[in-house]
Symmetry: C2
Subunit: 363 residues, 2 copies
Amino acid sequence: MNGKPLHEAFNRTAYPITGHGKRNIGVLKDALNAYDGDLDSDIYGEGSIIEGFQGKMAGILGKDKAVFFPSGTMAQQIALRIWCDRKGVKRVAYHPLCHLEIHEQRGLHELHGIEPVLLGGKDRLISLGDVQELYGKVACLLLELPQREIGGQLPDFGELEAISACCRERGIALHLDGARLFEVLPYYQKSAAEVCALFDSVYISFYKGIGGIAGAILAGDAGLAEESKIWKRRHGGDLISLYPYILSADYYFEERLPNMGRYYEEAVELAGLFNKCQQISTLPAEPVSNMFHVHAALSKERLEPLLIELYEETGVGLTHYLRETGETSCYFEISVGDRYALIPKEELHRAFAILDEKLAAVL
Amino acid sequence: MNGKPLHEAFNRTAYPITGHGKRNIGVLKDALNAYDGDLDSDIYGEGSIIEGFQGKMAGILGKDKAVFFPSGTMAQQIALRIWCDRKGVKRVAYHPLCHLEIHEQRGLHELHGIEPVLLGGKDRLISLGDVQELYGKVACLLLELPQREIGGQLPDFGELEAISACCRERGIALHLDGARLFEVLPYYQKSAAEVCALFDSVYISFYKGIGGIAGAILAGDAGLAEESKIWKRRHGGDLISLYPYILSADYYFEERLPNMGRYYEEAVELAGLFNKCQQISTLPAEPVSNMFHVHAALSKERLEPLLIELYEETGVGLTHYLRETGETSCYFEISVGDRYALIPKEELHRAFAILDEKLAAVL
């Protein structure tokens, strides 16, 4: 993971602008300290820890039932499998940059024999028009809110409602990849249940904006929940004890849910700082959640030493990595969390002023 | 889980004879207290926590590489899938009471399209003769040591060697379900590596005799390990953080591995106490690990109130459940762990004397 100069320089900064904090085992220790040691483990999906949390999440998402999973990869494949079995069609639609397409080693195909129909594009969201052409082709449409790999973009809520209505009309199940659902609620000005009401099944994650250790919830009708438990067993995810993930999910959910509005506003502010710099632009130009991408019209090789200098001079760390997008362009992702508010504004503005100077100097 | 009189009576006893202790979150808190909070999380299978533990386990098992999995269900399906792909045969052989056949909702078939050939019987182990008839039929033979569902029986080490040689001759991969591998080493008087040398791939668990939270290791050649990581991702088991299971596995491995000989000897002693009681017999008659089954020639309905009385009179708890095997027979499983040694011998012998009297009275 390390041994990389930019990563090491970032790790030495006093003011990293992204995330909640280091992913060390103290994160779990802090959460467990809130619970008494006598509390009984969940046992293969039963017991108060898991049943209580599932009930709480079902309520928040406005669904009949919720089931805790060790990962979203598992939860989502299973949701799509259940929809395919119900509809008798082994195809689902999703975005070409969705998690199942690019991060899961084709598990949906290899384990479930399900093939995707790709909708939208590598530079745009799935639109109502895309969905209107789907008739009869797929069992399920998966929408990711926000669409992470294109900077965390969102459809207007009106378009989302139209997509949902269109799916219902055509008998297509609508599944929400809500890995960052809570992060988009301040922009939509909706409750989680109001957004989820447009979907037939919903997955949410606990280690993005919530900042837990790992784990996911799949919510939907009672039949889907029961069937998902059978598939959880088949996948090897029905662990004797999932409480390390459940307790930390619950702990950080309570701690950070109230902050989602602040993270969003801070992301808008921070994107503004980036966009004032030469050769830099953010995607989206104005964030609609706590996340956005920062694109530079500069090669990774040229930007990296400049960032390392910046970190050393200012103590402000912008990113620990750069990803190439072309010979003279690269980008990185920002997720605003607890750390942003800890940076003195003066230090932050000074860092962006220096960044702009450095970028001007290499023009 | 509770709300059952026998379970509740068992939970009130001062001297439960089975297991290490309660499965509460204190088990994890104790383990984490041994580590500094600054220790970095593993990240998607990388980092010192997971890589270090995998290297340690590969060494102990005498295999090239080891990979940590959240569950044995996942690890074993994946091992069998890899052997099937390598051999070009979608069939494996295992015992009719093996974990894959009775506890995994046919995951091996539903996710991997693999069919089993059942060897051995519901009352006996897989023999060399069974294996000799397998030629050309299967990619892999799975052996579980000890065979849990028939009381934890074991083949002689000589027969195990002959089965291994037979498999190699016939080009059949031999996979070890070693959920309780460390528990059988004192009987075999072999090291883990000596046993594993007979197998091409090995799974071990950390929440049986070791007493961790959950988690498993799959070990084998380097190619199998690498391929298993791809399947781990597909199954949804490549979590961003598996350290709650890894750190507790390592902690309790160090604590309990030295006790395996004692647990085994205590199981032999305890089985002797059961066998002196009327209408009771153990399977095996003399245990070969820390586990055995206790069979009663009495219906569950007649034995249960008698056990509840016994627990209340003596404070010694024998089991929290009974499983019917017929109209006038039932059984339960014993796994000797830390708790057995904590029972004053006088209390233990008194409890068995009273049990024998009670059983005589219902004849």
